[in-house]
Symmetry: C2
Subunit: 874 residues, 2 copies
């Protein structure tokens, strides 16, 4: 926060003269200037190593406001666990962590929990014994100075403004049991600041700003340090409770909101509600803020203030959450609270039981999910027989680019929730970093509340219109004037084909023949021009536009015939540290110079200098030759060109020579054949530019978008078209219109997500990978490493472009192609490394989002490099 506040103060000095009691803006500072002073909330994707043990209940205590009694609840829970009324089957350890404490050391919630639990232990005199300790780990220098001298570890420097402390106190209290087999209470304060204000202000003032990563890392280490091994039945042998500071959305030391900082752990929450006047509202809103970040909240607990707030909360929360009411806390500060804790024991015991029950249910569900998945789900593109239950990944949640994955206890290791980088970008849909995900979540809630879904035809509503505007100004810039919405890439392609055919029919006089004479439809045969290896989706119309492949055989779709002229394209790739061009056999007979087959760098491939060359001429001859063969038949027409610009995705991540695609488009333009770009995979920065059309330098008549368009949160597709294409559907009859639609056409949630994502990806303030002057993504995959990788013996070829890094592995000839299993060993190894890959046969690929931090990409690529280097064959 320091830079902001300094900027703000400067702005203030400048413009507010001596009086800050005015609006911060807009009459004084223009809105646009002010927001640039306020830094974007930057929340990092959790690191790959992050793990959270599931061996025992771990809960976070949140408050709906400050001063609602979070620490009383923590202490109460500690007493319920450590001072049980009836003798439990085994003793327990209770870990209490206060990661961030202000007002320290005068205030210390961990000391409070430590002292009150000890006091209550003595008050109750159970037969068990208790070993209790309290420790403060680090604090600001000013806070440290208030501690007895010996508490400060003088060895540590104070560059960070923080001191390591030796502040430690402990007590042993024996009951009838032997002290060695007793209960244990461990209380910890991780970071303390002196001033009793919001942590971000204290940290700014006293020094010692702790980054979110550092805080999370310290917390993780602390949780890992203290745990008790072994399984348990109905009693938990260990409890961990983390108590946050202030309210749910109070800033942490960095200024990020605490509900965002702790999100990676997604620990179940206890929400301490507010029993006072106005407390219903505050509690409900706090609950909603936690839900809006994906937290589960099994229990709400609040102090009784005689206002029956719990009734309204129950009514609101019914069927979802347990609500507990605590006795009114004595106002007398000299009261030691022992009577209050005694009176509250039934509540805390119930709370404890509920929390344990919820914990056990969660673990049970995790365990049964694999098995149930195996018996109930039917995955796309999956031979279930080849997926044993233990290979099924149980995904608890996602946070930015990472999955949080459940890993069952195995080989003496505890069961954990572990972070895995989603390197397949969940089928190429994913774009959000953590901050965008949080924003999108809020937008999804808002759009559902404002619109749900509303009918599109003959109507207009803000998200649909705004999304259309952004598409036409963005990927459609300079050519598109209309947007047709549907639900996925495949439907977008079917619509594109219908558009192209109509346009062709109008332009080539076929439509007028149709309307004059009732046509024998059989006599007119429309074909598409397409490339071998292309892929446009799984519905029949989209399939007909692609060449025969395992996806299209009789086994899969008996109705497929393949209505296209399919050309063999030249491909380019990096191999042995050189970019190479591979010509299809039909072009190899041309007497072309050998130097055109390799390139100094990737950029050369896209150079317009290549347009006038022998190769260019050879391409042109080949294409026009093929087209004229088709033109022989009177009733058969090539009525559309459809291509995936630059990279063929599902076909195996092949990069097509951009020159070839440019020539292809030229030839079609000359013949009046409408050109369709299938940008479902390549669109929205996937290849480093918003539209792959920019790489080709040619504009289509029609283009299809989906996947990344919504930031990867929800299905939506768009087919963009020129005004000329649109006009070919204009007429006096409804029957002339494009009679294609899906129920959720232009649905409000999808359009809202697209509006956010399209803007987020291209704005340098939100996407730091954008090079503003060029509107390009900076290089995300370390070039040096990519080149090195291409020289490794198991590697056949590499393609790195934009967010994609694809690696084809050498394989036995009988194990290549889509059904290949040769990469499976490598995939398993990398999943263990925290990288979730999914191969395309013998091609593995890494895919990040447009905003993914290059350091993360490097970290992931290095792991892949290591694994590939360590292996000769798979």
């Amino acid at each position: 926060m320091q830079p902001t506040s300094r900027l703000l103060s400067r702005a203030r000095r400048h413009s507010f003269t001596c009086n800050r009691y005015t609006s911060i803006f807009p009459l004084v500072i223009p809105f646009e200037i002010l927001i640039s002073l306020v830094p974007r909330r930057s929340i990092s994707t959790p690191s790959l190593g992050l793990e959270m043990a599931l061996s025992h209940p771990v809960y976070t205590v949140w408050g709906s406001n400050t001063g609602v009694g979070k620490t009383l609840v923590s202490a109460g829970l500690a007493t319920a666990v450590l001072c049980p009324a009836s003798r439990p089957s085994c003793p327990s350890t209770f870990l209490y962590v206060k990661p961030v404490q202000t007002g320290f050391p005068d205030d210390s919630d961990s000391r409070f929990v430590f002292r009150k639990t000890c006091e209550f232990f003595l008050h109750q005199r159970p037969k068990t014994s208790l070993f209790a300790s309290n420790q403060a780990v680090k604090s600001s220098v000013v806070a440290a100075k208030r501690l007895p001298d010996l508490s400060i570890d003088e060895r540590t420097g104070n560059d960070s403004g923080l001191r390591e402390l030796c502040s430690f106190e402990e007590r042993r209290m024996c009951g009838a049991d032997s002290p060695t087999d007793g209960f244990e209470l461990v209380c910890k304060t991780l970071y303390g600041w002196k001033e009793a204000v919001s942590p971000h202000l204290a940290a700014e003032k006293e020094g010692g700003v702790v980054s979110d990563e550092e805080l999370i890392d310290s917390l993780q280490k602390c949780l890992h340090l203290h745990y008790v091994d072994g399984d348990f039945g109905s009693e938990a042998r260990m409890w961990s409770v983390i108590e946050t500071a202030g309210g749910v959305a109070s800033p942490g030391p960095s200024g990020s909101l605490q509900c965002d900082i702790y999100r990676a752990f997604r620990l179940p929450a206890i929400l301490v509600g507010d029993g006072r006047l106005g407390g219903i509202s505050g509690t409900i809103s706090a609950y909603e803020s936690l839900k809006l970040r994906g937290y589960d909240i099994p229990a709400v607990i609040l102090e009784d203030h005689g206002l029956r707030n719990e009734e309204s909360l129950l009514s609101y929360l019914r069927n979802r959450v347990h609500v507990f009411v605590l006795p009114t806390v004595p106002k007398d500060l000299s009261d030691n609270l022992m009577i209050w804790f005694s009176e509250s024991q039934t509540v805390f015991s119930s709370l404890k039981e509920i929390l344990l029950d919820q914990y056990l249910k969660r673990i049970h569900r995790f365990r049964e999910m694999q098995k149930k998945a195996g018996t109930m789900l039917w995955w796309p593109f999956t031979q279930h027989k080849l997926v044993p239950d233990e290979n099924i990944t149980v995904i608890d949640s996602r946070c930015g680019e990472n999955f949080a994955v459940y890993k069952a206890a195995k080989d003496g290791k505890r069961s954990v929730i572990s972070q895995q980088f989603d390197a397949c970008a969940s089928w190429w849909t994913q774009g959000p970093d953590v901050a965008l995900q949080i924003d999108l979540a809020q937008d999804m809630g808002y759009a559902a509340a404002r619109y749900g879904h509303v009918m599109f035809p003959e109507n207009v509503y803000e998200p649909a219109l705004r999304c259309t505007e952004l598409l036409i100004e963005g990927v459609g810039k300079g050519w598109a004037s209309r947007t047709y919405f549907s639900d996925n890439g495949s439907t977008a392609i079917e619509i594109a084909l219908k558009m192209a055919f109509r346009k062709y029919s109008v332009d080539h006089g076929i439509l007028s023949r149709l309307t004059n004479v009732k046509p024998h439809m059989d006599t007119i045969d429309f074909k598409v021009l397409a490339l071998n290896g292309s892929y446009h989706g799984d519905t029949l119309g989209a399939m007909e536009a692609q060449a025969p492949s395992p996806f299209t055989g009789f086994l899969q779709q008996p109705w497929y015939t393949g209505r296209g002229l399919f050309l063999d394209p030249p491909t380019v790739f990096l191999s042995n540290m050189v970019w190479k061009l591979q010509l299809p056999s039909v072009l190899q007979s041309h007497h072309l110079s050998r130097d055109i087959l390799s390139f100094g760098c990737r950029n050369q491939l896209f150079s317009r200098n290549r347009d006038i060359s022998a190769l260019s001429q050879a391409y042109s001859d080949y294409i026009s030759g093929q087209l004229s063969l088709c033109e022989g038949s009177k009733s058969s027409y090539i009525a559309a060109l459809i291509i995936e610009p630059v990279i063929q995705g599902a076909g195996g991540m092949h990069m097509i020579d951009p020159l070839f695609q440019r020539i292809l488009i030229n030839e079609c333009h000359e013949r009046g054949i409408p050109v369709i770009y299938d940008e479902v995979f390549t669109g929205f920065w996937r290849l480093g530019v918003e539209s792959a059309a920019e790489l080709l330098g040619r504009q289509p008549d029609i283009a299809c978008y989906a996947k990344l368009m919504t930031g990867g949160v929800i299905p939506l597709a768009a087919t963009l078209a020129t005004e000329a294409v649109y006009n070919s559907f204009s007429g006096d009859s409804k029957l002339m219109a494009l009679l294609h639609g899906h129920s959720y056409s232009a649905h409000a949630l999808g359009c809202t997500a697209a509006v956010k994502a399209i803007q987020w990806f291209k704005d340098p303030h939100t996407n730091r990978n954008i090079i503003p002057q060029k509107m390009l993504l900076r290089e995300l995959w370390d070039s040096e490493l990519v080149y090195q990788l291409s020289a490794k013996s198991p590697v056949k070829r590499v393609i790195a472009l934009g967010t994609l890094c694809a690696i084809e592995l050498n394989s036995e000839s009988n194990d290549s192609g889509y059904a290949s299993l040769c990469s499976s060993f490598l995939i398993r190894e990398l999943r263990r490394d925290g990288i979730y890959l999914r191969p395309l046969g013998n091609v593995i690929y890494l895919m990040c989002g447009p905003c993914t931090c290059p350091q993360v990409c490097r970290q992931v690529l290095e792991k892949v490099y290591e694994r590939i280097s360590g292996t000769n064959t798979f």
Copy 2:
């Protein structure tokens, strides 16, 4: 709340002995019992007449907590409007409304606004004149008793526990202007209660519970009563401000949360934030609660407490909201605040400017939306040439079953936001009532935050698994064991066809022939058996399974061939108050008795007694005759039956004789032809039962679901199948698997919505239309009215079943069918009545949700009845 609290108290007396300081549950009362004590938050769909004027700025003032200074902000805004520093071009009226006041009459926020504004006016001495008044309209009896006697209107009864008041005060203050052309302040309290507690407690205690409808209605009337006509430029001639009570989610008099009660108006909000310690969190959470209900919040304003909360708020809200800071309010109660108001004038003036600016932008956007829609959008199934800009509906939002529609100023009427019943259920997708919409919005936010979207194949995550469980236990009960997810009905059908063909291939030995000899694919011809008039979607595969129609012609899809055997089905309908059967011509030659052609009631149609009858035999003969004709060819196979059970939707809302469909299924089962139900339209209570299969009494092998499955909030489709169908894809090769999939297969948001909607619709606690013993919806369309309607001369036939009431109009023979325009006059009339219909040619239909209150259905149907009765021809 009265019934609840009474029940709760009883429960408490019973179980809590003398101590309420324990958990309300679960150890004391089981959770299940307790939640049944707590009533569902019931929020009604806003009534059709509801309108909100857009002729001037209207804002709601919300508080992030109690005591944050909402009334100071309201008064400040009044002073900025009424006591301007510089002379405005025209005088203004400021309406301040406090709908709900507790602590009344000692506390009265409207009196405070009235007095402080007057005082400030005198303090500032502007040259203008001011006429100010303050009025309280109704209060509880105890509150009324504290007023001077003459304030109580003794004529009003007190059945409702409320008294009408004559409490009124006014002041005239003249400046240099003539008093007739002065400024005006109107302050109103609508409902007052004596006790200074939450309104629901006060109303419960003092009597005078005001329902949400009544409150909204009073507020609307109050807003309509006071307005100033005429357009204005940069100055608003009228301002209205509504101040809520307590925090955003504080209960209103009925116990419903205020943010829910006022949602129908969706007025833009001013959020008064909290400048105190903890206030950042409270303000952010309150902001999120408002967003999560679809509100727009142009400004946040908070009192300065020296903690710089505004910086954190700006950082969080950046780019979205303006943040204003007010000087600290003097703590001294004797301070008359005149100095504070003076100091705050720059802030309030800025706030006023921003609010005016936002208002003007909103109006401007409304005005340009129609035009932009006409030039940029491309609607499905729409001949744009036939839609002039002024016919385009601008939808501001939806609330339950209603659209909130922008209506431009016209014929001397002000521009308004008006409620329209969405009678086409937005292409048959809609199910939510207001309460479900709010719940779904929260779930969408949660799911996006927890998962975004995660990859499905070989993975499992809670929403996908839970949704699968609910589908298999629900619509798939008794037959389905696997669920295949996709994005819409059309893709679900393509998947179903692929499944059926594989199953047929396996069962009939075709697969083994394929794998032994490389087949000439051309030699095997798979056809579907289907009914004329059926409709299964717009992608090519789905289209091939339907008979030729305007949707499938060369003009639309040159690749369509129609790969089916299409039978003419018998239909049933209500005409002239009798349910009639109409046989296709081919069956009319059968010598069938005439009495089988009419039925006493709808239920007779579904009776199993009809299974053994001459008609049944005639159906069977007809079907087997047709099938044997096809079996003649050696390489041609009928490999699937596909039907829309009971009602063909897009084909024109035709009800097929259920007996015919039963016989059809029997014949296919006998021949080993897999049966597909297309339940995309009929599924999830659309026809009054969860699956239309229940009406037919026959189970399919495969069934497709979409539309209502997610409650109508987001696209998701599912193809359910038996284990036998699933097994036909099992094998050692990946190539045997079903290689069909879409990027967002089983996306988390869609599955989460489906989980909520499926449960909500079938639970009698949430859906009061469910008859629990029978698991049927009660009759939603008034039978008497439906019968009467069928006797009207413009009506050809009526079908009322479940949520559907379809009416075919008589039309000239050259204007029937899909392209018919004959209903357009009626449609226009009904839209004026607040009913948004969309015709299918000459068929109009009303469609509600499974939870829609039958009173609403009746109201809508009555309007249609009136309009039809008043017209002879269209």
